[in-house]
């Protein structure tokens, strides 16, 4: 039988385990990894394209557990098409679309729609996150089972943007998703302690006259939830951990064998509340930017495994919702296209983590949390699993670029890194063997 | 880039200044036919000590003239026509004699008469604080280059200058150790600044 799909031979690349080698992609699969690969030629074997990747790193395609694609509802800020283009340009081969769209993704119908839009776009796998409660209202459980059984096969459920603050409801949700091996991703924010909150609570918020967002509002919910998870024996995932105290609580829980996983965002690994002094709403985000000590605790938490993954919390917003007074501006920042550079800058260049570690926190661990079988197929030591779907990202860690949001693929421009120099650039991305990014630019979408 | 100013050339010594002020005092009395109704108002900064000196001389010549009761200062900062262009100056106080200036013969005193714009501002300022019977102008130096139809009634020294020159008046009360400087005696000097931009940079205060 003759092959028509092109094959790709990536040569001379640095692999996550630190060795140098070649990678062969055939039939959408990672066919072989080794040195001096010489695939058979001939018409039957199909066309072969060779990519010289010397000096660059081949990573497993990145998996984001926390993406806001805004469609349906706010297509002026982002669509599934533009959001997945941004994801591809950032090296992601799978994103989890948060449920706070309009309408809310709280039914099989909406999650299937988002899943379908993702398939049609073809730039990156899209896995919808289902809402925990109807309309994110925090009052009644959404039809979690229906979403799990839909074609979208939802496994991650979250009211992100809102906290499931009712302890009984949270307990029920944790218990219920055990039926289909789901996970509740909690946005840990005690609502009463954060009414009108605008920034991290501390001396600076007092000076700036902005209502404070105390660390305890996050930590109290995490503490409660890990105890609930232990009590009912369920999996809990904590979204965007932002304080040193939260890291401590999660470390405590893991030491006791509680099934909790946690994510940190790129911006919380790099930026601090000092930026709020400018009152520039591009730095307004939920949870808020914290202090230097929190940034360091999050980096260490990722290095020692207390924090499992980096989730972008990519939150595109239109210019008009950011070009206004701080107190009424929308919360959130874009992040898909800067995530890997920020991780390199904060964790790799600082010596806290090697590229096997990056593969763990940005690919294999989030894939495992979301129960994805086609992503993150790499060992802890950074050795690719052959025969797995070819979801790969080629990354040049040696360039330095000044962030210019105008050049980003996302439809929104609210990047907090504007004007900053960050290292690294994604050069090529293979989604199930199809090159969606080639030579630092979008190529063609994958067709199903 | 500021050009190196050339060495200052002294044109009036301390005794020249004193003689000029004495003459001005006599001329004021002569023109007014006595000290009746005279109020001497200095324009900050260097017009103020000059006004005080003239008033003291008036008192010496005419003991019936009470210098302390007939001397004051008139700040013109907020009446200037160049507020938009020059950087903001902190206004100085205006101090008038207790009897006010209504019906008085006000003698305005300034150090250098140049464009005439300061005096224009002073006339406006005066208008807002009272209605004198007459206003006279006494200056230590008239250096020419008038931009407005204003002339001095009493001039210490007419000093033809080029616009590339800077006239510096140094008075002990302001430029000496009692003030903010280290000058040891009064003087009027001319500095040649060939670079026209440097004149602006030097901030010719009397323009």
């Amino acid at each position: 039988m003759s092959r028509t799909a092109p094959r790709y031979l990536i040569t001379g690349a640095t692999l996550p385990d630190g060795t140098t080698g070649d990678v062969l992609i055939e039939d959408g699969l990672l066919a072989a990894v080794g040195t001096g690969l010489a695939p058979e030629a001939g018409a039957d074997a199909g066309p072969l394209e060779t990519i010289d990747a010397s000096g660059r790193i081949v990573l497993p395609g990145l998996v984001d557990l926390h993406t806001h694609l805004r469609e349906p509802g706010r297509e002026d800020a982002e669509t599934v098409e533009t959001g997945t283009q941004a994801a591809a340009m950032g090296g992601f081969t799978s994103v989890h679309a948060m449920a706070n769209s309009t309408p809310v993704a709280d039914s099989a119908g909406v999650v299937e729609q988002v899943w379908q839009l993702g398939r049609e776009a073809g730039w990156c796998d899209v896995h919808p996150v289902g809402a925990v409660t109807v309309g994110l209202g925090g009052e009644r459980l959404a039809e979690l089972g229906a979403m799990a059984a839909s074609r979208a096969e939802v496994r991650v459920f979250s009211d992100d943007g809102m906290c499931v603050s009712d302890p009984v409801l949270m307990r029920r949700a944790l218990e219920y998703v055990k039926a289909f091996d789901g996970v509740i991703a909690q946005h840990a924010q005690e609502p009463r302690l954060t009414e009108g909150a605008q920034m991290n609570e501390g001396e600076l918020s007092s000076v700036l006259g902005l209502a404070g967002w105390p660390a305890v509002a996050e930590e109290a919910i995490i503490a409660r939830d890990v105890l609930l998870a232990r009590h009912v024996g369920s999996r809990l995932h904590v979204c965007h951990v932002s304080t040193a105290g939260s890291v401590e609580i999660i470390r405590w829980a893991k030491e006791r064998g509680i099934e909790v996983t946690a994510e940190a965002t790129p911006h919380h690994l790099l930026l601090t509340e000092e930026l709020v002094r400018t009152y520039d709403p591009v730095f307004k985000v939920n949870p808020p930017l914290r202090r230097e000590a929190d940034v360091m605790a999050l980096r260490e938490g990722l290095a020692d495994g207390t924090i499992d993954t980096v989730g972008t919390d990519h939150a595109p917003h239109t210019a008009e919702t950011k070009e206004c007074e701080w107190t009424v501006a929308a919360m959130g920042m874009t992040g898909l296209e800067t995530a890997l550079p920020v991780v390199q800058h904060a964790l790799v260049d600082t010596g806290l983590m090697d590229w096997a570690g990056v593969s763990r926190i940005l690919s294999s661990t989030p894939a495992r949390i979301a129960r994805l079988s086609d992503q993150g197929r790499i060992s802890a030591a950074g050795v690719f699993e052959t025969g797995a779907p070819a979801n790969l990202t080629i990354y040049d860690p040696h360039v330095t670029r000044t962030v210019d949001p105008a050049t980003h693929a996302t439809r929104s421009r609210n990047s907090p890194y504007r004007g900053m120099d960050l290292p690294g650039q994604v050069t090529d991305v293979f989604n199930h063997g199809h090159p969606v990014v080639r030579d630092r630019a979008l190529a063609t979408p994958r067709t199903h | 880039m500021q050009a190196e100013p050339r060495a200052a050339r002294t044109v009036l010594s301390a005794s020249d200044i004193d003689r000029a002020l004495t003459r001005i005092a006599h001329e004021i009395l002569e023109a007014n036919r006595g000290p009746e109704g005279i109020v001497v108002l200095g324009i900050p900064r260097r017009g103020v000590p000059l006004a005080e000196r003239i008033a003291a001389k008036l008192e010496r010549i005419e003991p019936g003239f009470d210098a302390s009761a007939a001397t004051g200062q008139l700040d013109v900062t907020l009446y200037r026509d160049d507020l938009r262009r020059s950087t903001a100056r902190t206004p100085a106080p205006t101090r008038l004699p207790d009897s006010g200036i209504d019906g008085a013969v006000v003698v305005l005193v300034d150090d250098v008469l140049f464009s005439g714009r300061t005096i224009r501002a002073a006339l406006d300022a005066l208008n807002d604080v009272g209605r004198p019977a007459a206003v006279r102008l006494a200056v230590l130096v008239d250096r020419g280059h008038r931009e407005l139809p204003i002339r001095a009634d009493f001039v210490g020294k007419n000093l033809p200058t080029s616009t590339a020159e800077r006239v510096q008046v140094r008075l002990l009360e302001i430029d000496g150790p009692a003030g903010t400087g280290e000058v040891t005696e009064d003087a009027v000097a001319i500095t040649d600044i060939t670079d026209a931009a440097a004149v602006t940079a030097a901030g010719e205060g009397t323009r």
Partner: protein, 335 residues
């Protein structure tokens, strides 16, 4: 000085310059022709997005005394809810010819944001932003205190600071832009500030501020201050459980008749009572304290016009602002 956004960023030299200029402006208010031509042909817009008749008319009087044209623009609630953004509003005002925008805003940081946004080239004067700052209120309080100190010392106020003066600020520090602006300015001028309030109305991190902190107003008054500044207490704070009841607040933190007597015996002989107004008689201040000769409320109002004249004159004079630090955050990367 291109803008006046806060007192925290105000240097001692700038503060003294404003106060000294205000002294000369006060002199104008005492004469027959209460007008100066300094801002003839300039346009000052009072953009008040939050109710404040007192501050607005004070700025209006100040601008008019300097011969500026004044346009008043009032709106309530968020500009977003009105459907027009702040950006569009201020660009419209500038197109009408505004040279300076005096802005009262419900949002903390709005003035700083406006000055740093690049939306307009006008000068921005912060007339109170959320719970952040109210710099002209602090400047008028400082002017009042400085005159008071000068009278006591038998000197002129010009060029002097507040070294050695002891000022107690009492009440809702947490939500008070007046307290913040005063704390920064008075300490810059050399005064010692004590904050007295219930712990619930103290800001987080207050222990790092350059002041003493006490929960006992009695102790603060017994220490013999030169001035006691009472802040207005909003009744809704009670419903938000910052304190149990108005009566309990008054008992512990009100300037009652008993505490007025304590101030008269323990305080400086000429200790003054200050209030930014409007006063809640019977809540934070008793009628006797409000009507006391020590109360400088009306002097504060008069000084407010002088200070605002000084500020408008200084921000609108000269186009070369390079020499003075624009009191704007520098981290904005947008043009």
């Amino acid at each position: 000085m291109k803008h006046l956004l806060s007192t925290q960023d105000l240097s001692l030299a700038d503060a003294l310059r404003i106060l000294d200029t205000a002294e000369e402006m006060s002199a104008v208010s005492g004469r027959e022709v209460k007008k100066l031509p300094a801002l003839r042909g300039r346009t000052v817009v009072n953009l008040f997005l939050e109710d404040s008749t007192r501050t607005r008319i004070s700025f209006e009087a100040a601008a008019k005394r300097l011969s500026a044209d004044v346009i008043n623009f009032s709106g309530k609630g968020s500009s977003v809810s009105k459907g027009e953004s702040l950006k569009d509003t201020v660009q419209t005002l500038e197109a009408i010819g505004a040279d300076a925008i005096v802005m009262r805003h419900w949002g903390s940081g709005a003035a700083a944001q406006l000055a740093g946004s690049g939306w307009i080239s006008s000068s921005v004067v912060n007339a109170g932003d959320g719970t952040h700052e109210h710099p002209t209120q602090a400047l008028l309080d400082a002017l009042t205190l400085r005159r008071h100190l000068a009278r006591r010392n038998g000197t002129g106020p010009r060029g002097t600071d507040l070294a050695g003066m002891r000022v107690v600020i009492v009440g809702d520090i947490l939500h008070s832009r007046v307290a913040r602006s005063n704390l920064w300015l008075l300490t810059t001028l050399g005064a010692e500030v004590t904050l007295a309030a219930p712990p619930t109305l103290m800001p987080v991190g207050v222990e790092q501020w350059p002041c003493r902190v006490t929960y006992s107003l009695d102790d603060a008054i017994a220490a013999g201050p030169d001035a006691v500044m009472m802040l207005r207490v909003q009744s809704e704070r009670m419903h938000e459980a910052f304190f149990p009841s108005a009566a309990e607040y008054t008992r512990s933190w009100g300037l009652t008749d008993d505490r007025l007597a304590l101030l008269e015996s323990a305080g400086a002989p000429d200790a003054v009572i200050m209030h930014p107004g409007p006063m809640n008689r019977g809540l934070e201040i008793s009628a006797a304290a409000a009507d006391s000769v020590r109360n400088t409320a009306l002097e504060q109002v008069a000084n407010g016009v002088s200070v605002r004249m000084a500020v408008l004159y200084l921000v609108l004079s000269g186009t070369d602002h390079a020499g003075t630090p624009a009191l704007v955050p520098t981290a904005r990367q947008e043009a």
